[in-house]
């Protein structure tokens, strides 16, 4: 519930009536309208809905909307009861558990419900989190902190940088693992960003989120968080990774490499998939099962902190009929490099190629990825591809478009000229480029 507004969601005449009656959300009220009397607790109003209704919770727990028309009398019966939540006692940790810090960036990984008003309050302190997911205290010694309170779609390269700086500080403080609780929409981008900024870290840096919000009993938040804590505290590898459900089932979780993961479903628990590369590990029955040999080991001494992201990178998806002016416009707005999401093996309309060539000649970076998502680009097969190469476009192999965009933002922040950007973009840094392409599994019909 928005802080401060005691008549949240109400507007117009209804708001005036409620205001004049001196009632606020959570009060027990009586509403007299059209010869009917309703009694219940005043609830917040859904903002997108018709403003001419008062919503109350009836004594049996159900909400109903009352249409306000003609003469209406609203009376307060009793004032709102303040939630009298008593914070749980500080959790006791077992001796010798690894230290894991959970950083929250927004959203709610755990929450409490006020059944009176339907309000959902996030649990953000370590104590609160542990009282809701007590299993954590058997896995690691948990510390929790709030980094940002934003929607994941509001993330920016500047915030990736602050996130990286914070994690670097935790690494230097000697924690054994870091968990970043993140909204799922752009979690893949942030995971890629930290993969480039924190190279070969000595500890796991684990992103985790939830596809079902934490106020519902079926939320995947707790299961994901428990597995993430296990990976952060106990994994033998130290990778920037994403831990989420591997399938619809709560009993199998996948650990994806930060540069290889993409959200591929809008709502399902198994939305996150590794693309062009298998997950690096799975978590089942409380055990971590490795699925890759090529992993950076916990305690790595090759750690390099490389912060800095530029906001001058762009990601442009090509579509049939696209106008080349769009690219010009971006450059006019200060963009210095563009990752194209082309069709198939890496193509855009031949009509756009002259513009790309001109901009490239002016020092703008162009990299090609594929909107096919799966597979690698190859621009030598068809004429268009060859023409694009000639115009100066760099084929970005099997890099995910989003990862390529994040990497470009990172490159632009450190390379001194176009040649350096082009060179750096093709240099493998955090597992974002792969050499071998693997087949998909055979379909078997009965």
């Amino acid at each position: 519930m928005a802080v401060g507004d005691r008549l949240q969601g109400y507007s117009g005449r209804v708001r005036e009536i409620l205001k004049e009656s001196g009632v606020e959300i959570g009060d027990e009220i009586e509403v007299e309208v059209r010869d009917e009397t309703y009694r219940g607790i005043l609830m917040a109003r859904y903002e997108l809905a018709d403003p001419n209704y008062i919503v109350i919770k009836l004594p049996n727990g159900y909400n109903v909307g009352i249409r306000v028309e003609g003469e209406v009398k609203v009376k307060r019966i009793a004032s709102a009861k303040k939630p009298r939540f008593i914070p749980p006692p500080k959790p006791k940790f077992k001796e010798g558990l690894p230290k894991v810090t959970i950083m929250s960036t927004g959203g709610t990984i755990a929450s409490r419900i006020d059944y009176r008003t339907g309000g959902v309050r996030p649990a953000l302190t370590a104590e609160d989190l542990l009282s809701i997911v007590p299993e954590l205290s058997n896995i690691a010694e948990i510390d929790a902190k709030i980094l940002f309170s934003i929607f994941s779609e509001d993330m920016t390269p500047e915030l990736w940088n602050r996130m990286a700086i914070e994690v670097d500080r935790l690494i230097k403080d000697g924690v054994d693992g870091v968990i970043i609780a993140h909204g799922t929409d752009t979690m893949g981008y942030s995971a890629a960003a930290l993969s480039f900024a924190l190279q070969k870290p000595p500890i796991p840096i684990v992103f985790v989120g939830a596809q079902r919000s934490s106020d519902r009993p079926s939320s995947d938040a707790a299961t994901n968080l428990i597995a993430a804590t296990r990976v952060a505290g106990h994994a033998p590898f130290a990778e920037v990774c994403v831990v989420m459900h591997a399938w619809h089932s709560d009993d199998l979780l996948a650990v994806h490499r930060g540069t290889r993961v993409r959200k591929l479903h809008t709502s399902s628990r198994d939305a996150f998939r590794s693309v062009n590369s298998p997950p690096i590990a799975y978590v089942k029955d409380g055990k971590i099962k490795l699925n890759s040999e090529n992993l950076n080991k916990r305690g790595s001494r090759e750690y390099r902190f490389e912060p800095g992201f530029s906001s001058k990178a762009a990601l442009v998806k090509f579509y049939p009929g696209m106008d080349a002016d769009i690219l010009e416009f971006l450059v006019e707005k200060g963009v210095r490099g563009i990752v194209l999401e082309g069709t198939g093996l890496g193509h855009v309309s031949t009509r756009i190629i002259p513009t790309i060539k001109k901009l490239h000649d002016d020092g703008i970076f162009f990299g090609m990825t594929s909107q096919c998502i799966f597979g690698r680009v190859n621009m030598r097969v068809y004429d268009t591809g060859r023409d694009l190469l000639k115009a100066g476009v760099i084929a970005l192999d099997d890099m995910l478009p989003e990862t390529a965009y994040v990497k470009l933002s990172w490159c632009l922040a450190r390379a001194r000229n176009l040649e350096e950007v082009e060179e750096l973009m093709l240099k493998p840094i955090a597992g974002e480029l792969g050499e071998r392409s693997m087949p998909s599994m055979e379909v078997k019909l009965e």
Partner: protein, 636 residues
């Protein structure tokens, strides 16, 4: 036992749940009729209740939380989608279901709400993949008149049906997701019902009213009745899941007997001077030694797998545990029900029922000696893992203390014999919060006016018009309605030209009486009944043949009416052959005809009926014989 329900202050309220026969589920486009042949996937979930901001403790929620289990869902891809799997937000509230709710509300003079708000009601036993049931109030108030008495309706709600349990193991529970999300309507009456018979009458009346909407499902599993029952000095008991309407009076009666029995025991315990302290002070003791060599199979199994036998003495409870007011209604059963539900123990016995279950007299004697139990005392034993057994006996203690106060308020589950078993404590104020994925749903005045204009007739009105239109008795018209054959009846009459009374007696009387005789008449399809009527209308078979054909078809599923005619030798007869036969008989009985024509024709009819029963209408045959005889007579 004859009970004066008035004087004991019986009050019953009903909650009738009925599946709606809508095209699709309440929040997705999956069908509400099961489709076969889909691929099944299974997935595992765990549920945890989001904590309440108020920090309050709900007894029912604690009960479920203690039993946190691995939940395995079976999802059939033709009947379930990502919505039932809780992998996709709900789609819009099903308009068709809302309309059925509103029509029901209008038929009951209830007041539809101005705006529907879908709520989440926390249910963490796994029956809903989300951990809550989506439910919404459609209307408030209203009433129905049953046998001249006004029964107030409290709420009319629409909610999603739950998943069906397939298998329950100690730490794992399996659910089939096909049923999840089918719309249910719930009608709650005020607690004004005063007798078992009245409970039946009210439920029946609500059922008929719902059927008038033409949008409710029928058959086993489509209706569930919950009751709340109280008597003076007793307690409010919720009874869940009575599936058969006919069982309702028995459930009410047995619950009254149970409560009266518990009150009687309370008085007896008082008389014996039992106090709360006497119970709470009793220690729980380990008596495994006594049963080390027992031949009781259940004790043996528990001891062999590392379990212990624990015992609790209950002073002055002797004889009261086994005292039976009606089959299954004993204090001992109450104790066992409580212990089983909370602690999931299997082997629980009390000395009133021992020796027995393979436990010998010698063992009982040693047990009583060890527990220092006197003549009037009882001993309860539980065999299981030590912590479980201990917990179970703690529950027994609590329940024994409650016995001193009379009837504990609780939620019980109905069994198919009308008895009930402890299910869980009664929930506190419902834990509900708004379903934010679904916007409020306004009900405009114009829409309500339109619904009022096209309100379906009640079934009484339907019966009235049927009997008027077709000259049927009120009773047979009602039977057609109850059997849901009205539509078929009207189609048969208009398309085959068979007499309405004949069609009605085939569809209602014959089907009903054959069913009573044990024939599987459900196997006889509407198209078969149509065909039979058509043959009767065309004079190809006699109406008397109908029951025989129905019997044959019910025993030979998959066969056609034509097959039945062949098998029963009911193929239409060649009329010239019949005439020839009549002439033959007339010749044979010539002298009798001359002496006594009336007797002769009846003898000839008898002979003919042996051959043609069911194949030619008797009246028609008699007519032919008469004509032939007259013709003969005229000629001589």
């Amino acid at each position: 036992m004859k009970i004066d329900y008035q004087s004991i202050g019986l009050k019953v309220g009903l909650e009738i749940h009925r599946q709606l026969d809508t095209r699709c589920k309440l929040f997705c486009e999956c069908p509400t009729e099961f489709v076969d042949g889909g691929r099944e996937i299974r997935f595992v979930r765990w549920l945890r209740e989001a904590q309440s901001e108020l920090g309050e403790v709900d007894p029912a929620a604690i009960f479920e939380a203690r039993k946190r289990r691995k939940i395995v869902y079976h999802a059939d891809t033709l009947n379930t989608c990502l919505v039932e799997m809780d992998e996709e937000p709900p789609h819009d509230l099903n308009r068709e279901a809302v309309e059925v709710g509103l029509v029901t509300a209008l038929l009951m003079n209830a007041k539809p709400v101005d705006e529907i708000h879908v709520m989440r009601k926390i249910v963490i036993d796994g029956s809903n993949t989300t951990g809550f049931q989506r439910t919404c109030v459609i209307a408030l108030g209203g009433e129905i008149i049953v046998d001249g008495k006004k029964i107030p309706i409290q709420t009319i709600t629409i909610e999603e049906d739950a998943a069906r349990i397939i298998e329950r193991k100690p730490h794992e529970i399996h659910y089939d997701l096909r049923r999840l999300g089918i719309p249910l309507i719930e009608i709650s009456t005020a607690p004004v019902i005063n007798s078992p018979r009245e409970a039946y009458r009210v439920a029946y009346a609500i059922g008929r009213l719902l059927r008038a909407t033409g949008k409710v499902k029928r058959g086993i599993g489509t209706v569930r009745q919950d009751l709340n029952i109280s008597i003076r000095d007793g307690a409010l008991i919720e009874i869940k899941g009575v599936q058969e309407l006919d069982l309702l009076p028995k459930v009410v009666e047995l619950e009254v007997i149970r409560q009266l029995h518990l009150l009687k025991i309370r008085d007896e315990l008082k008389k014996r001077g039992v106090t709360e302290q006497m119970i709470s002070e009793e220690p729980i003791k380990d008596v495994t030694e006594i049963f080390k060599k027992t031949r009781s199979r259940i004790l043996r199994r528990k001891i062999d797998s590392g379990g212990r036998v624990l015992a609790l003495r209950l002073r002055k409870f002797g004889g009261l545990l086994g005292l039976e007011a009606a089959p299954g209604i004993r204090l001992g059963a109450e104790f066992a029900g409580r212990a089983r539900a909370w602690s999931e123990v299997e082997g629980i016995f009390h000395t009133d029922e021992l020796p027995g279950y393979g436990i010998t007299e010698a063992e009982v004697r040693r047990l009583k000696d060890f527990m220092e139990a006197g003549e009037l005392d009882a001993v309860i034993i539980v065999a299981d893992e030590k912590s479980k057994a201990e917990d179970a006996l703690q529950r027994v203690k609590e329940r024994a203390i409650e016995a001193l106060r009379g009837v504990p308020s609780e939620t019980r589950a109905a069994r198919s014999d009308g008895t009930t078993i402890y299910l869980r404590p009664r929930p506190g104020a419902a834990r509900m919060y708004p379903e934010t994925d679904i916007p409020p749903y306004p009900i405009s005045r114009e829409y309500l006016e339109e619904l009022k204009r096209r309100l379906p007739p009640t079934l009484d009105e339907v019966a009235e018009s049927l009997s008027r239109k077709y000259g049927l008795s009120k009773q047979i018209a009602n039977e057609l309605i109850d059997l849901e054959k009205v539509e078929l009846f009207e189609r048969i009459v208009s398309e085959t030209g068979v007499k309405p009374r004949v069609a009605a007696s085939i569809l209602a009387e014959h089907m009903k009486s054959l069913k009573r005789e044990g024939f599987n008449v459900e196997l006889v399809g509407d198209s078969d009944l149509f065909e039979i009527s058509k043959l009767i209308a065309g004079g190809e078979i006699a109406k008397e043949a109908a029951p025989e054909i129905i019997k044959w078809l019910s025993k030979n599923p998959g066969k056609s009416v034509r097959d039945a005619l062949d098998a029963l030798n009911l193929r239409p007869v060649d009329m010239s052959e019949v005439e020839k036969k009549i002439d033959e008989l007339i010749k044979r009985y010539k002298s009798m005809i001359e002496e006594n024509p009336r007797k002769a024709s009846s003898v000839i009819m008898g002979e003919l009926m042996k051959i043609y029963r069911g194949r030619i209408d008797g009246g028609k045959l008699y007519q032919m014989v008469r004509e032939r005889i007259h013709g003969q007579g005229g000629g001589s």
